[in-house]
Amino acid sequence: MSMEVAKLQQKFLDYSNSLFQDGFLDDQFIQLHMLQDDSNPDFVAEVVTLFGEDSERLIAELSAALQHDTIDYRKVDAYVHQFKGSSSSIGAQRVKAVCSDFRVYADAKNREGCLQCLQLIKQEFSLIKHKLDSLLKLEEQIIAAGGTVPFMD
């Protein structure tokens, strides 16, 4: 096994471990990797891409919904529910946590709380999107160098 592959693999393990330790990702992200195989080699990348697209759309919808003088909290709740669902399916733990708080504020028709959560969700999504892209890039590099992606713990 070449030095390059070994180095990349270690980098990958260090990075992914830190993401789990800092709570960005949970076990569901590992489960997604179990669904990827030779017949479905890009499964994780596909899911991450879809998650990115859906999240950006939902953030835009939420921003619009929260700009009105009279907020339709039912609509806000529906969007957040969607966001919570997809972040849960991908293992984006911190985004999911913000969604839970967001729903509480929407339920209570608390404008300030909702606006704060919107800001937080934008931040958390931006963070996880960047980290997932970096992680997937590392996986690509490992495979391109002829190695296999080590199993995350």
């Binding site: 569901q28 997604l32 179990m34 669904l35 195989d37 596909e46 859906d54 529910h81 969607q82 399916s89």
Partner: protein
């Protein structure tokens, strides 16, 4: 060819044409207490001739052992696609142990072998669940209903892992169109919270259609499992009231999935 599983050597003789693993096409002698496995590829579309994989078990008995009953090695059938009926027939022909769907996945082979040989870490009860989910879901046609496409894809991926054929619908209305009798689905996983028509209402409508279909003489009841995002008591009660058959929260966790599915689908 040897395969290391849990630090034990298992010799696998692969017969038949199979992309990467070609050994020889011939009968398999059991040795080492029956540890040898025979895996025979079958193409269900071929006529059920002498060389068909389906006939292999009886071929083994008659040709090599003069019709005497033998301790047969564990037999695993590998197929591209099979209906539940075909799985039943395969069992009758002697593939009583298990069936794996192609394309083969290393994780599925490992789980299948562990189940069949009876090895594996006893302290991991989830492992057994994997093998059993394979038997429950293999070849079954499942409808996944969820308005969230990330959820759809992840749920479908999880079910495909165990050999199910999965179709998706993105609304209650689309689900009703697919599940109006007659249809060929074995089960449906239904999201609860969806815009326009939620999972409860969709299920209610499907049951109404099944009632109407009864008048033509056939009983229809497609098992519908709810996929609530949060499992709370009110949801459970509603599931029962709307004549759903169970629920499993998402994202799927293996043991929960097995518990829910085993109650509505029988082993093939």
């Amino acid at each position: 060819m040897n395969l290391m599983i849990d630090e034990k050597h298992v010799e696998i003789l692969i017969a038949g044409m199979w992309r990467k693993w070609i050994e020889h096409g011939g009968a398999v002698d059991g040795k080492d207490g029956g540890r040898i496995l025979g895996a025979w590829e079958v193409d269900m579309r071929d006529a059920w001739g002498y060389s068909s994989g389906l006939n292999f078990p009886s071929f083994l008995r008659t040709e090599r052992h003069g019709g005497k009953s033998i301790i047969c090695p564990k037999l695993i059938l590998i197929a591209t696609s099979m209906t539940s009926a075909e799985c039943e027939i395969a069992k009758l022909m002697g593939y009583a142990d298990t069936i794996i769907m192609k394309p083969l996945r290393a994780s599925m082979i490992a789980a299948c072998l562990q189940q069949v040989i009876g090895m594996g870490d006893e302290s991991q009860p989830g492992r057994e669940g994997t093998g059993n989910l394979q038997n429950l879901l293999c070849g079954k046609k499942i409808l996944v209903v969820d308005d969230n496409r990330v959820n759809r894809i992840v749920a479908a991926g999880a079910l495909k892992k165990y050999g199910a054929h999965v179709e998706c619908a993105d609304s209650g209305k689309a689900a009703i169109a697919k599940l109006e009798p007659p249809h060929t689905f074995d089960a449906c996983f239904m999201d609860i919270q969806m815009p326009e028509m939620d999972g409860f209402e969709a299920t209610h409508n499907i049951r109404k259609l099944e009632e109407i279909a009864k008048e033509s003489g056939k009983i229809w009841h497609v098992p519908i499992l709810a996929m609530p995002a949060d499992v709370i008591q009110a949801t459970y009660d509603e599931c029962v009231r709307c004549k759903m058959d169970g629920y499993v929260s998402k994202p799927f966790e293996e043991e929960q999935l097995y518990k829910a599915v085993s109650q509505v689908l029988s082993r093939t």
